[in-house]
Amino acid sequence: QGKPVVNLQLGWILGGNQIGEVCAKQMGFYDQEGVDLKFQSGGPNIDGVAVVAAGRFEVGQVSSSPSLMLAASQDIPIQCFAVGAQQHPYTFFSLKKNPVREPKDLVGKKVGIQATGVILLRALLAKNKIPEKDVTIVTIGADMAPLLTGQVDVVTGWLTNTTALKVLGPDRVDLRLWDAGVHLYALPYYATTTTIKTKADVLQKFLRASGKGWAYAHANRDEAVKLLVKEFPNLVAADEREALDVMLQYAFSAKTGAEGWGTMDPAVWADQIGLYAELGQFSKRTPKLEEVMTMDILKATADGRPKIG
């Protein structure tokens, strides 16, 4: 066929977070743009950054934006060129009987959090001027049971992960990281600087088609879930349908209404970099903004991306 293949290396297994791409693929949007998309799954034991950076696959997506800042700080030549979620859905969950509704409620609480999430909590505390010693941090695995069994008062997770949240029941209290003043992106797309320079057209085609896919999912939610489950039969349609509504609230915002799906704000990035630098997260050096992200692809596709918000 001769169509360039775009391998999308995920940071996690394929799921509802990629519903737009799945729709685009199934609806033939990539074909129309003249590219061929292949999903490359990630998982707990691999985030895919090294694989993309080494040039094996063209495009990558990780769960959260800090990964890309940290990668850039280690001289890994990748840049973010779009984001899938305008706000990070990372959330601190507690129960009504011992609620954490705003940052100051964290004082005196036991927070169960993954080793890699600890920095997010520390960022939150720093932003809200709460001394770290006032909060007990318990590193736990990917598991919410400790909250229910009373081992901790707070656990963390993604608000989009509606299936998991059902376990917590109706008494759940949410405190979003974003609302607590820590502004991170979720599901950022990245590629190597070389790819961004030399294969900008392919990335543009990818981004335009993906945007169409997300617009399709926004407009045809039941259809979209059907397509998702067809692509990936392990998923449960009902759960995904529920999750989709939440996910779309993150994929589209006022900003996407103006600038189109996938857009991002350099200021938010600069803010993130500053916050991480402050917290001493860059062991090697603080990356420059232009090393972490580029608006080039977004600008070039400004007209081709759906403006929903």
């Binding site: 394929l14 990630g42 998982g43 598991d143 049971a145 998991a164």
Partner: protein
């Protein structure tokens, strides 16, 4: 003593002894079939009782009833996901064990290599999958290959250790016999060492049968959308404990079948040993 009378006397007796032997054998076969089932049922009962008595909430451990319901409801899905994992486990099992046997053979024939490289093998064996993952994906891509490689790596070490021991611990008498017959190293290997190593090898294979499945599952965590491993991640992060348990049980049952196959193979291959113990 007249031989004719004796023979007449003797014949039914021999067949009686043989009948008794056959009866004992079939009784044993049945025992070997029923007891494991009993053990598993007992464990299930224990699990159910524990969940019921201690009112264990489903997010800690679901009840066997819920798991069974999921097992039947999603049977097709589970089997679809078992297939790739089973292929990876079996290929990894074969690859890992064959490599281990080859390297053990080399080590036994060139002691210097063993002394130089065994510690290195130990080091390599302890490298966690996360550290190897990028290299594996870069070299082998994102298909079944890296999963097979991980399953093979995890099988490799126990077989190597056991096999080196099995090949080395030959009876000195038999070794002298081979020497007198001026047997080549290959012949000593094929006619003596290999047979001698069989008990060790089968122990290792039994271990591998179980660990290769784990290897395939862990391998799927470096990137896979299908397979028991992928389903486990999905169920874990969706906190679908019934599905998680059902998936784990499917994987475990497969590895048990694998184990039983090895046990059976051993019984077919090793036919010469005098029964021991009373």
């Amino acid at each position: 003593m007249s031989t004719i009378a004796e023979t007449a006397d003797l014949l039914p007796d021999v067949s009686a002894a043989e009948a008794e032997f056959a009866r004992r054998k079939s009784r044993e076969t049945w025992r070997r079939r029923l007891l494991p089932a009993a053990g598993i049922l007992g464990a299930l009962a224990l699990w159910g009782a524990a969940v019921w008595i201690f009112k264990v909430p489903p997010f800690v451990a679901p009840s066997p009833v819920a798991v069974f319901a999921t097992l039947t409801a999603k049977f097709g899905l589970l089997m679809e996901n078992l297939l790739p994992t089973a292929i990876e486990a079996i290929c990894g099992f074969l690859l890992g064990n064959v490599t281990a046997i080859v390297i053990a053979t080399t080590f036994v024939h060139k002691k210097v290599l063993e002394e130089a490289f065994f510690p290195l093998v130990v080091i390599i064996n302890t490298i966690p999958v996360v550290a190897k993952a990028p290299i594996l994906v870069l070299l082998l891509g994102n298909g079944m290959e890296p999963k097979i490689a991980i399953a093979a790596l995890i099988c490799f070490f126990p077989t190597l250790v056991n096999m080196v021991r099995g090949l080395e611990s030959v009876n000195p008498q038999a070794m002298e016999l081979m020497r007198v017959l001026s047997a080549s190293k290959t012949e000593v290997f094929l006619k003596l060492r290999l047979y001698n190593s069989l008990p060790y090898l089968f122990s290792a294979l039994k271990i591998s049968a179980s660990t290769s499945v784990i290897g395939a599952i862990v391998g799927e965590w470096i990137g896979s959308t299908t397979g028991i491993g992928a389903l486990i991640i999905q169920a874990t992060y969706a906190f679908d404990s019934a599905l998680l348990y059902a998936t784990v049980i499917v994987g475990s049952c497969f590895s048990m079948l694998f184990f039983l196959t090895i046990t059976l193979a051993e019984r077919l291959v090793v036919r010469w040993q005098a029964p021991t113990g009373h």
